[in-house]
C-alpha cells in the first residue's frame, strides 16, 4: 500500500499540462540537478506542493470519515454528508464576506490569513458537529441523525448562497470554484503550516485507538470498560473538526473520500479493529486522493477537471456496493 502511494505520488508530479519525464522527476526528488530550470520550477513550486496536499488531505479526510463512522455508529457518517464541511464552508464564507475582501486576497495574506480561514472553518465545522452531536444524544435513530445532518448542510449552503448574493461577482465565482475542491490551494509557502496542522490531527487520531475500538461495542460496553465516553466524544469531535476545517479551508469541501475510504479499507482488511483500520485508511486515503488528483489532469485535455467531479466517480460505487452487500456482511462496521 505504501509503495502504491509512492508510485501515485511520483505520477502526480510527472503528469500535468506539461509532461515531465519520470526519470527527471525521480532525479529531482532524490536531490539531483536535472538542468531544466522550468521543470524544476514547475515541480517545486506547483506539483510537489499539490501532490503533498493531496496526500495529506486524503489521509485527513479518510481518518476523519473513519472517526465519525465509529463515533456516530453510522456507516454513512462523513464530513460532507453530515454537513460538517458545509459548516466549515459557511465559516469561511462569513469571514471572507465580513472582512470585505475576496477569497483570493485573503489567501494572499500569508499564514495569518490562512490561520483566520482555518479558525473560521473550524468554528463553522465545530458548530455543526455540536448540533449533530446534540441531536445524536436525543435521537436514537441513526437515520434521523443522518437526515438532521443533511438538513443542517442544506441550511449552511443556503446561508452561503445568501452571502454570495450580497458579495461581489468575482468573489462569488471564486467561492464557487473553491467549492469544487482543489488540491492546488496550498502553495509552497503554506505547505509547512498545512503539514503541521494535518499531522497534529492525524497523530491525535492515532492516539485514540483504544477508545475507538471500545466504541465498536457500543457506548455502554465501552463505559463499563473504563472509557470516559463524554471525553472520548469531545476528543473525536475536536480531531475530526480540526481535520475537516483545515482541509476545507485550503482545498474546499472534497466529497466522498472521507465516506468511501474507510469502507474500502474494511473490504480489504475484513476487520473493524482500528489498530489495523486506522493506519490503513490513512495511507489509502492519501493514495485515493493522489489518484483523484491524477485523474483531474485527464490525458488528452488541456484543462483541469474539478476535483469533486472525480471523487464521487470513485466513491459513490463503493458506498453503493457496501450498502447493497450489507445483508451478507450483517453489520457494516
Amino acid at each position: 500500500m505504501l509503495s502504491l502511494t509512492a508510485v501515485l505520488f511520483t505520477l502526480n508530479i510527472a503528469y500535468g499540462s506539461v509532461t515531465i519525464p519520470l526519470s527527471a522527476v525521480l532525479e529531482l526528488l532524490t536531490g539531483q540537478d536535472i538542468g531544466v530550470s522550468s521543470w524544476t520550477q514547475i515541480i517545486l513550486e506547483s506539483r510537489l506542493p499539490q501532490a503533498a496536499t493531496a496526500l495529506l488531505t486524503g489521509a485527513a479526510l479518510a481518518v476523519c470519515g473513519l472517526l465519525l463512522q465509529t463515533l456516530f455508529q453510522n456507516p454513512l457518517a462523513d464530513p460532507s454528508i453530515l454537513g460538517i464541511s458545509a459548516g466549515a464552508n459557511l465559516g469561511v464564507a462569513l469571514v471572507v464576506f465580513l472582512s470585505g475582501g475576496t477569497l483570493g486576497n485573503l489567501a494572499g495574506l500569508g499564514a495569518g490569513g490562512h490561520f483566520a480561514l482555518v479558525i473560521s472553518a473550524f468554528a463553522g465545522a465545530f458548530v455543526v458537529l455540536n448540533i449533530i452531536l446534540y441531536m445524536a444524544g436525543r435521537l436514537r435513530s441513526n437515520l434521523m441523525l443522518l437526515i438532521v445532518g443533511i438538513m443542517v448542510g442544506y441550511l449552511a449552503s443556503s446561508f452561503i448562497t445568501f452571502i454570495n448574493f450580497y458579495s461581489s461577482a468575482e468573489n462569488a465565482f471564486l467561492f464557487m470554484l473553491w467549492g469544487m475542491g482543489d488540491f492546488s490551494g496550498v502553495t509552497r509557502q503554506h505547505l509547512p503550516f498545512y503539514l503541521i496542522v494535518v499531522s497534529v490531527g492525524l497523530v491525535a487520531a492515532l492516539l485514540q485507538l483504544k477508545p475507538l475500538n471500545a466504541l465498536l461495542m457500543g457506548e455502554r460496553y465501552a463505559s463499563n470498560l473504563g472509557i470516559h465516553i463524554r471525553r472520548t466524544r469531545i476528543t473525536l469531535l475536536v480531531i475530526s473538526g480540526l481535520l475537516t476545517a483545515v482541509t476545507t479551508a485550503f482545498c474546499g469541501p472534497v466529497s466522498f473520500i472521507g465516506l468511501a475510504v474507510p469502507h474500502i479499507a474494511r473490504l480489504f482488511l475484513k476487520t473493524g479493529n482500528h489498530k489495523h483500520l486506522l493506519p490503513f485508511s490513512l495511507v489509502l486515503g492519501g493514495a485515493v486522493a493522489l489518484l483523484c488528483n491524477l485523474l483531474t489532469t485527464f490525458p488528452g485535455h488541456a484543462g483541469i477537471l474539478p476535483l469533486n467531479a472525480i471523487t464521487p466517480l470513485l466513491g459513490a460505487p463503493v458506498v453503493l456496493y457496501v450498502l447493497l452487500s450489507r445483508k451478507k456482511m450483517g453489520n457494516i462496521h
Binding site: Q73, K210, L216, G218, M329, H333
Partner: protein
Amino acid sequence: MNKPIIELQNLSIGYLDHRPHKVVHAGMNLQLQRGELTCLLGTNGAGKSTLIKTLAGFQPALAGHILLEGKQLRSYSRKTLARLQGVVLTDPVLSDNLTVYELVSFGRYAYTGFFGRLTAADHRAVEEALTCIGIPHFASRHLHQLSDGERQKVMIAKAIAQGTSIILLDEPTAFLDLPSRVEIMLLLRKLTVEQGITVLLSTHDIDLAMQISDKIWLMAKRRQTECGTPEDLALSGMINSFFDKEALAFDLHTGSFRLQVSSGDRVSHSLSGLPSFWVEKALTRKGFRIVSPTPGVPHITTSGSSFFIDQTPAANVEEILSQLRA
C-alpha cells in the same frame, strides 16, 4: 451472615432527563450475596433493565444508595469500577467485523494502558475466558459467523476476561432457543460455583430461574421488591402473587407455571407413573378438571399399551382427547 457484595438502600431508579423525573421504581431494599447467582424477575415495565443499568453506573440513582463492597457506587472511579463489575447488555455490538478473540480481548481494556496493548498476562486471561465458556476453537471466527447464542457466550467471555468479581447481565437469554437458554444459565451457574463470581441477571425465564438461582429478586410495578431463595418465595406465595394472571398459575407441586383454561368438565383416571403424568398434563391443557372416580364422570384406565375410557379403547393421548370431546 456474609456481608452482601451489593446492597440497595431505599433506592429509587428512573430517568433524570424526563421532566418531571420519571421514577420507574422507588424504595428498593435488596442485597446481592457474594458468589451467588441471583435472578431478577419481574413483569414488563417493572424496571428490571433500569435497575441493571443503574447498578452498572450507566445512569444515576434518583434517590437512596447503592453500596458496592460497602462503599457508595458513585465514589468509585471509572477505572476501579471497570475491574469490579462486568456487564452483558442487550445492546447490539456494532462491529461484526471483529474476531471473537478481538472482542473478548476488549474486556482487558480495564487493565491495559493508553494504546490498549495486550501483555502476555492479558492474552492468557483472554484464552482462559474462551476456554471457560467452551469456545476456544472460535477464537479466530468473525462475529457475523456466529449464532445468537454463540454471540451471547462471547459477550459473557468478554465479561470473564474483564476479571471482575461481579457480572451483571440484562436479559442474556432473550431471543435464544431453549437449549441455548439452558446452556447460558448453566454457564452462569458454573461461574458462580467454580470462580466465585457474583452473578445478577434479569430474565423472563421463570421456570429456569426457579431451578437454577440461589436467590431471586422480584419486581413489579407499584409493589415492594422481594428477595429470597426460589423455594421461600414459592412457599410464601410471593411467586404466585407477583405473576398471577387469570390464565396462569404457579403450581406449587411441580414448581412451574401452568396454563389455566378450565372448562369445568370433570374426568377421572386410575393411571400411575409416567402415563399418569402425561395424560394429566394433556387433560389440564384441554381444560379438564381431574377428580377422584365418581359415577357419571368419564374414567380412564390402561391395560397393556392401550388406554380405555369407560371400556372404549383409545390408542394414545390424542384419541383420549378426541373421544372425551366427542
